[in-house]
Protein backbone atom coordinates (compact mmCIF):
# COMPACT_ATOMS: atom_id res chain seq x y z
CA UNK A 1 0.00 0.00 0.00
CA UNK A 2 2.62 2.49 1.08
CA UNK A 3 4.62 1.35 -1.89
CA UNK A 4 1.87 2.39 -4.20
CA UNK A 5 1.80 5.88 -2.86
CA UNK A 6 5.55 6.15 -3.25
CA UNK A 7 5.40 4.90 -6.82
CA UNK A 8 2.78 7.42 -7.80
CA UNK A 9 5.35 10.13 -7.17
CA UNK A 10 6.98 8.94 -10.37
CA UNK A 11 4.26 10.92 -12.10
CA UNK A 12 5.47 14.05 -10.33
CA UNK A 13 7.72 15.35 -13.09
CA UNK A 14 5.01 14.67 -15.57
CA UNK A 15 2.44 16.50 -13.49
CA UNK A 16 4.75 19.49 -13.49
CA UNK A 17 5.24 19.07 -17.20
CA UNK A 18 1.49 18.95 -17.84
CA UNK A 19 1.10 22.10 -15.82
CA UNK A 20 3.74 23.98 -17.78
CA UNK A 21 3.45 22.58 -21.26
CA UNK A 22 -0.25 21.78 -21.44
CA UNK A 23 -2.22 23.85 -18.99
CA UNK A 24 -0.22 27.06 -19.22
CA UNK A 25 -0.36 27.29 -23.03
CA UNK A 26 -4.04 26.53 -22.77
CA UNK A 27 -4.41 29.50 -20.45
CA UNK A 28 -2.63 31.69 -23.00
CA UNK A 29 -5.15 30.64 -25.60
CA UNK A 30 -7.97 31.22 -23.16
CA UNK A 31 -6.54 34.65 -22.44
CA UNK A 32 -6.61 35.56 -26.12
CA UNK A 33 -10.06 34.07 -26.51
CA UNK A 34 -11.54 36.28 -23.81
CA UNK A 35 -10.02 39.57 -24.91
CA UNK A 36 -10.21 41.91 -27.86
CA UNK A 37 -7.16 42.96 -29.86
CA UNK A 38 -6.82 45.93 -27.54
CA UNK A 39 -6.86 43.72 -24.48
CA UNK A 40 -10.30 44.34 -22.98
CA UNK A 41 -12.54 41.51 -21.89
CA UNK A 42 -15.07 40.15 -24.35
CA UNK A 43 -17.10 37.06 -25.09
CA UNK A 44 -17.42 37.92 -28.75
CA UNK A 45 -14.68 35.58 -29.82
CA UNK A 46 -16.62 32.71 -28.33
CA UNK A 47 -20.02 33.73 -29.61
CA UNK A 48 -18.50 34.26 -33.04
CA UNK A 49 -19.11 30.58 -33.65
CA UNK A 50 -22.74 31.53 -34.29
CA UNK A 51 -21.80 33.52 -37.39
CA UNK A 52 -23.14 31.74 -40.47
CA UNK A 53 -19.68 31.29 -41.99
CA UNK A 54 -18.37 29.62 -38.88
CA UNK A 55 -21.44 27.52 -38.35
CA UNK A 56 -21.29 26.43 -41.94
CA UNK A 57 -17.68 25.37 -41.75
CA UNK A 58 -18.22 23.70 -38.39
CA UNK A 59 -21.11 21.77 -39.85
CA UNK A 60 -19.01 20.82 -42.88
CA UNK A 61 -16.21 19.68 -40.55
CA UNK A 62 -18.62 17.57 -38.59
CA UNK A 63 -19.94 16.00 -41.74
CA UNK A 64 -16.49 15.28 -43.12
CA UNK A 65 -15.20 14.01 -39.78
CA UNK A 66 -18.25 11.84 -39.35
CA UNK A 67 -17.98 10.42 -42.84
CA UNK A 68 -14.26 9.84 -42.34
CA UNK A 69 -14.94 8.02 -39.09
CA UNK A 70 -17.62 5.83 -40.62
CA UNK A 71 -15.50 4.93 -43.63
CA UNK A 72 -12.50 4.21 -41.42
CA UNK A 73 -14.64 1.98 -39.25
CA UNK A 74 -16.05 0.12 -42.21
CA UNK A 75 -12.60 -0.43 -43.71
CA UNK A 76 -10.80 -1.05 -40.44
CA UNK A 77 -13.05 -3.60 -38.83
CA UNK A 78 -12.56 -6.31 -41.44
CA UNK A 79 -8.85 -5.54 -41.55
CA UNK A 80 -8.56 -5.96 -37.79
CA UNK A 81 -10.64 -9.12 -37.95
CA UNK A 82 -8.53 -10.62 -40.71
CA UNK A 83 -5.28 -9.70 -38.99
CA UNK A 84 -6.63 -11.22 -35.80
CA UNK A 85 -7.55 -14.43 -37.58
CA UNK A 86 -4.10 -14.62 -39.15
CA UNK A 87 -2.90 -15.30 -35.62
CA UNK A 88 0.26 -13.30 -35.95
CA UNK A 89 2.04 -13.67 -32.65
CA UNK A 90 4.08 -10.52 -32.94
CA UNK A 91 1.65 -7.74 -32.23
CA UNK A 92 4.28 -5.04 -32.54
CA UNK A 93 4.82 -6.02 -36.14
CA UNK A 94 1.20 -5.25 -36.98
CA UNK A 95 1.37 -1.90 -35.27
CA UNK A 96 4.39 -0.96 -37.31
CA UNK A 97 2.98 -2.02 -40.61
CA UNK A 98 0.50 0.77 -40.05
CA UNK A 99 2.72 3.51 -38.71
CA UNK A 100 5.56 2.78 -41.12
CA UNK A 101 4.07 5.00 -43.85
CA UNK A 102 4.58 7.94 -41.49
CA UNK A 103 8.28 7.66 -42.11
CA UNK A 104 7.54 9.35 -45.37
CA UNK A 105 6.78 12.96 -44.63
CA UNK A 106 3.07 13.60 -44.28
CA UNK A 107 3.03 16.42 -46.76
CA UNK A 108 4.88 14.38 -49.33
CA UNK A 109 2.34 11.63 -48.98
CA UNK A 110 -0.52 14.02 -49.51
CA UNK A 111 1.28 15.50 -52.52
CA UNK A 112 1.54 11.98 -53.85
CA UNK A 113 -2.22 11.72 -53.52
CA UNK A 114 -2.51 14.81 -55.67
CA UNK A 115 -0.47 13.05 -58.31
CA UNK A 116 -2.65 9.98 -58.03
CA UNK A 117 -6.00 11.74 -58.01
CA UNK A 118 -5.58 14.69 -60.36
CA UNK A 119 -7.56 14.89 -63.62
CA UNK A 120 -4.66 13.51 -65.61
CA UNK A 121 -3.31 11.58 -62.68
CA UNK A 122 -2.41 7.96 -62.11
CA UNK A 123 -5.87 6.84 -61.08
CA UNK A 124 -7.56 8.36 -64.11
CA UNK A 125 -4.85 6.95 -66.40
CA UNK A 126 -5.57 3.50 -65.06
CA UNK A 127 -9.31 4.02 -65.36
CA UNK A 128 -9.13 5.11 -68.95
CA UNK A 129 -6.64 2.38 -69.79
CA UNK A 130 -9.17 -0.25 -68.75
CA UNK A 131 -11.94 1.59 -70.52
CA UNK A 132 -13.73 3.15 -67.57
CA UNK A 133 -14.84 6.77 -67.43
CA UNK A 134 -12.44 9.06 -65.60
CA UNK A 135 -13.49 10.78 -62.40
CA UNK A 136 -13.06 14.29 -61.13
CA UNK A 137 -12.14 13.87 -57.49
CA UNK A 138 -9.12 16.00 -56.65
CA UNK A 139 -10.03 19.31 -54.98
CA UNK A 140 -13.44 18.12 -53.85
CA UNK A 141 -14.85 17.16 -50.48
CA UNK A 142 -14.43 13.54 -51.51
CA UNK A 143 -10.72 14.05 -51.92
CA UNK A 144 -10.49 15.66 -48.49
CA UNK A 145 -12.40 12.77 -46.97
CA UNK A 146 -10.18 10.30 -48.76
CA UNK A 147 -7.09 12.05 -47.49
CA UNK A 148 -8.39 11.97 -43.95
CA UNK A 149 -9.36 8.32 -44.21
CA UNK A 150 -5.86 7.66 -45.46
CA UNK A 151 -4.30 9.64 -42.67
CA UNK A 152 -6.37 8.29 -39.80
CA UNK A 153 -7.09 4.70 -40.83
CA UNK A 154 -4.28 3.23 -38.70
CA UNK A 155 -5.74 4.88 -35.61
CA UNK A 156 -8.93 2.95 -36.21
CA UNK A 157 -7.35 -0.38 -37.05
CA UNK A 158 -4.96 -0.61 -34.10
CA UNK A 159 -7.40 -0.24 -31.19
CA UNK A 160 -9.92 -2.57 -32.81
CA UNK A 161 -7.21 -5.11 -33.46
CA UNK A 162 -6.11 -4.89 -29.86
CA UNK A 163 -9.65 -5.27 -28.60
CA UNK A 164 -10.20 -8.30 -30.81
CA UNK A 165 -7.06 -9.99 -29.61
CA UNK A 166 -8.34 -9.71 -26.06
CA UNK A 167 -11.45 -11.74 -26.88
CA UNK A 168 -11.28 -15.29 -25.67
CA UNK A 169 -11.64 -17.69 -28.61
CA UNK A 170 -13.77 -20.02 -26.56
CA UNK A 171 -16.47 -17.39 -26.25
CA UNK A 172 -16.81 -17.42 -30.02
CA UNK A 173 -16.99 -21.19 -29.97
CA UNK A 174 -19.58 -21.05 -27.24
CA UNK A 175 -21.77 -18.88 -29.42
CA UNK A 176 -21.54 -21.35 -32.27
CA UNK A 177 -22.25 -24.12 -29.81
CA UNK A 178 -25.46 -22.41 -28.80
CA UNK A 179 -26.59 -22.32 -32.40
CA UNK A 180 -25.45 -18.91 -33.52
CA UNK A 181 -24.40 -18.68 -37.16
CA UNK A 182 -21.51 -16.55 -38.36
CA UNK A 183 -23.56 -13.35 -38.56
CA UNK A 184 -25.19 -13.69 -35.17
CA UNK A 185 -21.88 -14.47 -33.56
CA UNK A 186 -20.42 -11.42 -35.19
CA UNK A 187 -23.18 -8.99 -34.23
CA UNK A 188 -23.97 -10.39 -30.80
CA UNK A 189 -20.55 -11.38 -29.56
CA UNK A 190 -17.60 -10.10 -31.56
CA UNK A 191 -18.79 -6.54 -32.04
CA UNK A 192 -20.01 -5.95 -28.48
CA UNK A 193 -16.82 -7.42 -27.09
CA UNK A 194 -14.68 -5.15 -29.23
CA UNK A 195 -16.75 -2.12 -28.28
CA UNK A 196 -13.93 -0.54 -26.30
CA UNK A 197 -11.63 -0.74 -29.28
CA UNK A 198 -14.28 0.68 -31.60
CA UNK A 199 -14.89 3.60 -29.27
CA UNK A 200 -11.19 4.38 -28.93
CA UNK A 201 -10.90 4.16 -32.68
CA UNK A 202 -13.83 6.51 -33.19
CA UNK A 203 -12.33 9.05 -30.82
CA UNK A 204 -8.86 8.69 -32.31
CA UNK A 205 -10.25 9.40 -35.78
CA UNK A 206 -13.10 11.78 -35.15
CA UNK A 207 -11.22 14.23 -32.94
CA UNK A 208 -8.25 14.96 -35.20
CA UNK A 209 -10.46 14.86 -38.28
CA UNK A 210 -12.59 17.58 -36.76
CA UNK A 211 -9.71 19.98 -36.21
CA UNK A 212 -7.59 19.01 -39.20
CA UNK A 213 -6.69 21.66 -41.74
CA UNK A 214 -3.66 20.44 -43.67
CA UNK A 215 -5.47 17.76 -45.61
CA UNK A 216 -8.20 20.14 -46.70
CA UNK A 217 -5.58 22.72 -47.64
CA UNK A 218 -3.75 20.31 -49.89
CA UNK A 219 -6.55 18.14 -51.28
CA UNK A 220 -9.47 20.56 -51.04
CA UNK A 221 -8.05 23.04 -53.50
CA UNK A 222 -9.05 25.89 -51.23
CA UNK A 223 -12.69 25.08 -51.89
CA UNK A 224 -13.33 23.13 -48.71
CA UNK A 225 -13.32 25.37 -45.67
CA UNK A 226 -13.28 23.33 -42.47
CA UNK A 227 -13.37 24.84 -39.01
CA UNK A 228 -9.69 23.92 -38.73
CA UNK A 229 -8.97 26.05 -41.79
CA UNK A 230 -10.92 28.95 -40.32
CA UNK A 231 -8.90 28.79 -37.15
CA UNK A 232 -5.65 28.50 -39.03
CA UNK A 233 -6.55 31.45 -41.21
CA UNK A 234 -7.52 33.58 -38.26
CA UNK A 235 -4.08 32.95 -36.82
CA UNK A 236 -2.24 33.66 -40.08
CA UNK A 237 -4.11 35.35 -42.90
CA UNK A 238 -6.50 37.45 -40.85
CA UNK A 239 -3.97 38.07 -38.04
CA UNK A 240 -6.84 37.78 -35.59
CA UNK A 241 -5.43 35.60 -32.83
CA UNK A 242 -8.26 36.50 -30.51
CA UNK A 243 -10.91 35.11 -32.81
CA UNK A 244 -8.71 32.11 -33.65
CA UNK A 245 -8.28 31.34 -29.96
CA UNK A 246 -11.99 31.80 -29.30
CA UNK A 247 -12.93 29.38 -32.03
CA UNK A 248 -10.29 26.88 -30.82
CA UNK A 249 -11.74 26.94 -27.35
CA UNK A 250 -15.22 26.38 -28.75
CA UNK A 251 -13.96 23.51 -30.85
CA UNK A 252 -12.25 21.97 -27.84
CA UNK A 253 -15.43 22.22 -25.81
CA UNK A 254 -17.30 20.63 -28.67
CA UNK A 255 -14.79 17.78 -28.85
CA UNK A 256 -14.92 17.23 -25.11
CA UNK A 257 -18.71 17.15 -25.23
CA UNK A 258 -18.86 14.60 -28.00
CA UNK A 259 -16.24 12.50 -26.22
CA UNK A 260 -18.14 12.48 -22.99
CA UNK A 261 -21.27 11.49 -24.88
CA UNK A 262 -19.35 8.62 -26.42
CA UNK A 263 -18.00 7.67 -23.03
CA UNK A 264 -21.57 7.53 -21.76
CA UNK A 265 -22.27 4.95 -24.43
CA UNK A 266 -19.29 3.08 -23.12
CA UNK A 267 -20.04 2.32 -19.50
CA UNK A 268 -16.65 0.88 -18.69
CA UNK A 269 -13.97 3.33 -17.66
CA UNK A 270 -11.12 3.05 -20.03
CA UNK A 271 -8.28 5.50 -19.93
CA UNK A 272 -6.11 4.18 -22.72
CA UNK A 273 -6.90 5.39 -26.17
CA UNK A 274 -4.45 3.67 -28.37
CA UNK A 275 -4.02 0.24 -27.08
Amino acid sequence: MTNKIKTSFLAGPYALWVLICTILPLLYILGYALTTSTGSFTLENLTAIAEPVHLKSLWLSIKVAFLTTVICLVIAYPVALILHNLKITNKGFIVFLFILPMWMNFMLRILAWQIILSNNGILNSILSAIGLPTIHILYTKSAVTLGMVYDFLPYMILPIYNALSKINDQVIEAAADLGANWLTTFTKITVPLSKDGILSGIIMVFVPALSSFVVSNLLGGGKVLLIGNVIEQEFTLARNWNLGSGLSIILMIFVLLSMSIMNKVDDSENGGMLV
Binding site: P13, I82, N85, G92, M107, S118, P208, S211
Partner: protein, 261 residues
Protein backbone atom coordinates in the same frame (compact mmCIF):
# COMPACT_ATOMS: atom_id res chain seq x y z
CA UNK B 1 -15.13 -22.72 -48.83
CA UNK B 2 -12.54 -21.67 -46.31
CA UNK B 3 -10.02 -21.33 -49.12
CA UNK B 4 -12.27 -18.87 -50.91
CA UNK B 5 -12.74 -17.00 -47.65
CA UNK B 6 -9.03 -16.95 -47.04
CA UNK B 7 -8.37 -15.76 -50.57
CA UNK B 8 -10.94 -13.02 -50.24
CA UNK B 9 -9.47 -11.80 -46.96
CA UNK B 10 -5.94 -11.73 -48.36
CA UNK B 11 -7.25 -9.80 -51.34
CA UNK B 12 -8.96 -7.31 -49.06
CA UNK B 13 -5.85 -6.92 -46.91
CA UNK B 14 -3.86 -6.39 -50.07
CA UNK B 15 -6.22 -3.62 -51.17
CA UNK B 16 -5.95 -1.83 -47.84
CA UNK B 17 -2.18 -2.04 -47.85
CA UNK B 18 -2.15 -0.81 -51.42
CA UNK B 19 -4.21 2.17 -50.25
CA UNK B 20 -1.78 2.86 -47.42
CA UNK B 21 1.39 2.38 -49.41
CA UNK B 22 0.35 3.70 -52.85
CA UNK B 23 1.52 7.26 -52.15
CA UNK B 24 4.80 5.89 -50.91
CA UNK B 25 5.32 3.95 -54.11
CA UNK B 26 4.62 7.13 -56.06
CA UNK B 27 7.21 9.02 -54.03
CA UNK B 28 9.80 6.31 -54.47
CA UNK B 29 9.25 6.45 -58.20
CA UNK B 30 9.57 10.25 -58.07
CA UNK B 31 12.94 9.94 -56.41
CA UNK B 32 14.25 8.42 -59.65
CA UNK B 33 12.61 11.07 -61.82
CA UNK B 34 15.02 13.15 -63.85
CA UNK B 35 12.85 16.27 -63.72
CA UNK B 36 12.30 19.02 -61.20
CA UNK B 37 8.56 18.88 -61.80
CA UNK B 38 6.70 16.12 -60.07
CA UNK B 39 4.15 15.79 -62.81
CA UNK B 40 6.61 15.29 -65.66
CA UNK B 41 8.53 12.06 -66.11
CA UNK B 42 11.96 13.13 -67.26
CA UNK B 43 13.50 9.69 -67.44
CA UNK B 44 15.26 7.51 -64.89
CA UNK B 45 18.11 8.93 -62.87
CA UNK B 46 20.08 8.22 -59.74
CA UNK B 47 21.45 11.72 -59.53
CA UNK B 48 19.25 12.81 -56.63
CA UNK B 49 20.72 10.03 -54.57
CA UNK B 50 24.24 10.80 -55.70
CA UNK B 51 23.81 14.54 -55.10
CA UNK B 52 22.32 14.03 -51.72
CA UNK B 53 25.41 14.21 -49.55
CA UNK B 54 26.70 17.19 -51.48
CA UNK B 55 23.65 19.25 -50.60
CA UNK B 56 24.62 21.09 -47.41
CA UNK B 57 21.14 22.44 -46.75
CA UNK B 58 19.56 19.03 -46.81
CA UNK B 59 22.35 17.46 -44.79
CA UNK B 60 22.03 20.24 -42.23
CA UNK B 61 18.29 19.73 -42.01
CA UNK B 62 18.78 15.99 -41.74
CA UNK B 63 21.21 16.46 -38.87
CA UNK B 64 18.84 18.82 -37.09
CA UNK B 65 15.94 16.46 -37.67
CA UNK B 66 17.84 13.50 -36.27
CA UNK B 67 18.97 15.46 -33.22
CA UNK B 68 15.51 16.82 -32.50
CA UNK B 69 13.69 13.59 -33.22
CA UNK B 70 16.00 11.37 -31.21
CA UNK B 71 16.35 13.61 -28.20
CA UNK B 72 12.67 14.48 -28.03
CA UNK B 73 11.51 10.90 -28.40
CA UNK B 74 14.02 9.59 -25.87
CA UNK B 75 13.09 12.26 -23.34
CA UNK B 76 9.38 11.77 -24.04
CA UNK B 77 9.82 8.06 -23.48
CA UNK B 78 11.53 8.55 -20.15
CA UNK B 79 9.02 11.14 -19.00
CA UNK B 80 6.04 9.20 -20.34
CA UNK B 81 7.11 5.86 -18.94
CA UNK B 82 7.66 7.15 -15.46
CA UNK B 83 4.41 9.08 -15.72
CA UNK B 84 2.55 5.96 -16.79
CA UNK B 85 3.94 4.03 -13.84
CA UNK B 86 3.02 6.82 -11.48
CA UNK B 87 -0.46 7.16 -12.90
CA UNK B 88 -0.98 3.42 -12.74
CA UNK B 89 -0.42 3.40 -9.00
CA UNK B 90 -2.39 6.56 -8.34
CA UNK B 91 -5.81 6.77 -6.83
CA UNK B 92 -8.42 6.31 -9.51
CA UNK B 93 -9.67 9.87 -9.34
CA UNK B 94 -6.21 11.41 -9.57
CA UNK B 95 -5.35 9.11 -12.43
CA UNK B 96 -8.47 10.21 -14.28
CA UNK B 97 -7.43 13.85 -13.96
CA UNK B 98 -3.92 13.12 -15.20
CA UNK B 99 -5.26 11.16 -18.15
CA UNK B 100 -7.67 13.94 -18.98
CA UNK B 101 -4.79 16.43 -19.11
CA UNK B 102 -2.81 13.96 -21.18
CA UNK B 103 -5.56 13.95 -23.76
CA UNK B 104 -5.47 17.71 -24.30
CA UNK B 105 -2.60 17.81 -26.81
CA UNK B 106 -4.41 15.15 -28.82
CA UNK B 107 -7.59 17.22 -28.90
CA UNK B 108 -6.11 20.55 -29.96
CA UNK B 109 -5.51 21.52 -33.54
CA UNK B 110 -1.78 21.46 -34.23
CA UNK B 111 -1.67 25.13 -35.01
CA UNK B 112 -3.21 26.04 -31.68
CA UNK B 113 -0.71 23.86 -29.86
CA UNK B 114 2.10 25.31 -31.93
CA UNK B 115 1.22 28.93 -31.36
CA UNK B 116 0.44 28.49 -27.69
CA UNK B 117 3.75 26.77 -27.10
CA UNK B 118 5.49 29.50 -29.04
CA UNK B 119 3.87 32.12 -26.82
CA UNK B 120 5.00 30.19 -23.77
CA UNK B 121 8.56 29.59 -24.89
CA UNK B 122 9.24 33.16 -25.99
CA UNK B 123 8.60 34.21 -22.42
CA UNK B 124 11.25 32.00 -20.91
CA UNK B 125 13.77 30.93 -23.48
CA UNK B 126 14.98 32.05 -26.88
CA UNK B 127 13.62 29.86 -29.62
CA UNK B 128 16.08 27.45 -31.08
CA UNK B 129 16.49 23.71 -31.40
CA UNK B 130 15.85 23.25 -27.73
CA UNK B 131 12.40 24.80 -27.86
CA UNK B 132 11.47 22.47 -30.70
CA UNK B 133 12.59 19.50 -28.62
CA UNK B 134 10.39 20.69 -25.75
CA UNK B 135 7.43 21.11 -28.07
CA UNK B 136 7.93 17.69 -29.57
CA UNK B 137 8.08 16.13 -26.14
CA UNK B 138 4.82 17.89 -25.32
CA UNK B 139 2.90 16.33 -28.16
CA UNK B 140 4.51 12.89 -28.13
CA UNK B 141 4.39 12.13 -24.40
CA UNK B 142 0.70 11.15 -24.59
CA UNK B 143 1.52 8.46 -27.13
CA UNK B 144 4.13 6.98 -24.82
CA UNK B 145 1.76 7.02 -21.88
CA UNK B 146 -1.06 5.42 -23.82
CA UNK B 147 1.28 2.68 -24.99
CA UNK B 148 2.78 1.89 -21.61
CA UNK B 149 -0.33 2.10 -19.44
CA UNK B 150 -2.17 -0.91 -20.88
CA UNK B 151 0.98 -2.98 -20.39
CA UNK B 152 1.05 -2.02 -16.76
CA UNK B 153 -2.62 -2.76 -16.40
CA UNK B 154 -2.20 -6.26 -17.76
CA UNK B 155 0.87 -6.85 -15.59
CA UNK B 156 0.07 -9.19 -12.76
CA UNK B 157 0.60 -7.62 -9.38
CA UNK B 158 1.42 -11.09 -8.15
CA UNK B 159 4.66 -11.24 -10.14
CA UNK B 160 5.94 -8.14 -8.42
CA UNK B 161 4.98 -9.60 -5.07
CA UNK B 162 6.65 -12.87 -5.95
CA UNK B 163 9.87 -11.03 -6.67
CA UNK B 164 9.66 -9.26 -3.32
CA UNK B 165 8.93 -12.57 -1.71
CA UNK B 166 12.11 -14.00 -3.15
CA UNK B 167 14.09 -11.21 -1.54
CA UNK B 168 14.21 -8.59 -4.26
CA UNK B 169 14.23 -4.94 -3.28
CA UNK B 170 11.53 -2.87 -4.96
CA UNK B 171 14.07 -1.46 -7.41
CA UNK B 172 15.42 -4.89 -8.29
CA UNK B 173 11.92 -6.26 -8.67
CA UNK B 174 11.07 -3.42 -11.00
CA UNK B 175 14.14 -3.95 -13.14
CA UNK B 176 13.83 -7.70 -13.38
CA UNK B 177 10.10 -8.26 -13.41
CA UNK B 178 8.13 -5.14 -14.23
CA UNK B 179 10.43 -3.64 -16.81
CA UNK B 180 10.68 -6.67 -19.11
CA UNK B 181 6.90 -6.84 -19.15
CA UNK B 182 6.27 -3.22 -20.03
CA UNK B 183 9.25 -2.91 -22.33
CA UNK B 184 7.33 -3.71 -25.53
CA UNK B 185 4.93 -0.91 -24.65
CA UNK B 186 7.80 1.46 -23.96
CA UNK B 187 9.39 0.49 -27.25
CA UNK B 188 6.28 1.05 -29.30
CA UNK B 189 5.63 4.29 -27.44
CA UNK B 190 9.17 5.38 -28.28
CA UNK B 191 8.78 4.48 -31.92
CA UNK B 192 5.48 6.31 -32.11
CA UNK B 193 7.03 9.38 -30.53
CA UNK B 194 9.89 9.11 -33.00
CA UNK B 195 7.53 8.87 -35.93
CA UNK B 196 5.30 11.70 -34.78
CA UNK B 197 8.29 13.94 -34.22
CA UNK B 198 9.71 13.09 -37.62
CA UNK B 199 6.43 13.84 -39.32
CA UNK B 200 5.48 17.08 -37.62
CA UNK B 201 5.52 20.37 -39.42
CA UNK B 202 3.13 22.86 -37.85
CA UNK B 203 4.35 22.77 -34.28
CA UNK B 204 7.97 22.68 -35.34
CA UNK B 205 7.45 25.67 -37.56
CA UNK B 206 6.16 27.89 -34.81
CA UNK B 207 8.55 26.83 -32.09
CA UNK B 208 11.82 26.74 -33.99
CA UNK B 209 14.40 29.43 -33.77
CA UNK B 210 15.99 31.30 -36.66
CA UNK B 211 18.08 29.15 -38.94
CA UNK B 212 16.79 25.88 -37.49
CA UNK B 213 15.46 23.72 -40.27
CA UNK B 214 14.06 20.24 -40.08
CA UNK B 215 13.25 18.20 -43.15
CA UNK B 216 9.56 18.97 -42.65
CA UNK B 217 9.91 22.73 -42.45
CA UNK B 218 12.34 22.67 -45.32
CA UNK B 219 9.87 20.79 -47.46
CA UNK B 220 7.11 23.20 -46.62
CA UNK B 221 9.00 26.34 -47.61
CA UNK B 222 9.80 24.71 -50.94
CA UNK B 223 6.22 24.04 -51.84
CA UNK B 224 5.73 27.07 -54.05
CA UNK B 225 8.87 26.95 -56.05
CA UNK B 226 9.19 23.21 -56.36
CA UNK B 227 10.48 20.60 -54.00
CA UNK B 228 14.11 19.61 -54.39
CA UNK B 229 13.99 16.03 -55.70
CA UNK B 230 16.85 15.18 -53.35
CA UNK B 231 14.22 15.28 -50.63
CA UNK B 232 12.30 12.47 -52.33
CA UNK B 233 15.50 10.50 -52.40
CA UNK B 234 16.21 11.17 -48.76
CA UNK B 235 12.66 10.27 -47.73
CA UNK B 236 12.91 7.07 -49.69
CA UNK B 237 16.13 6.15 -47.93
CA UNK B 238 14.63 6.93 -44.51
CA UNK B 239 11.54 4.92 -45.28
CA UNK B 240 13.48 1.94 -46.52
CA UNK B 241 15.75 2.08 -43.48
CA UNK B 242 12.74 1.96 -41.21
CA UNK B 243 11.26 -0.84 -43.27
CA UNK B 244 14.40 -2.96 -43.09
CA UNK B 245 14.72 -2.28 -39.38
CA UNK B 246 11.16 -3.46 -38.91
CA UNK B 247 11.82 -6.66 -40.82
CA UNK B 248 14.95 -7.34 -38.79
CA UNK B 249 13.22 -6.74 -35.48
CA UNK B 250 10.34 -8.93 -36.52
CA UNK B 251 12.63 -11.68 -37.73
CA UNK B 252 14.57 -11.55 -34.49
CA UNK B 253 11.36 -11.60 -32.46
CA UNK B 254 10.17 -14.68 -34.30
CA UNK B 255 13.54 -16.28 -33.88
CA UNK B 256 13.48 -15.75 -30.15
CA UNK B 257 10.02 -17.25 -29.88
CA UNK B 258 11.14 -20.27 -31.86
CA UNK B 259 14.09 -20.78 -29.58
CA UNK B 260 11.81 -20.84 -26.58
CA UNK B 261 9.75 -23.61 -28.08
Amino acid sequence: MTKVKKGASYFYLGLVFLFLYAPILVLIVLSFNNSMSRTVWGGFTLKWYLNLTANDNIMDALGTTIRITLSSSILATILGTSAAIGIHYMKKRHAAIMLGATNIPLLNADIVTGISLMLLFTRFTPLGEFSVVLAHIAFSVPYVIFNVLPRLQSLSEACYEAAMDLGATPAYAFAKVVWPEIFPGVLSGFLMALTMSLDDFTITYFTKGAGVNTLSTMLYTQLRKGIQPELYALSTILFLLAFVLLLVINYKGEGRKEAHK
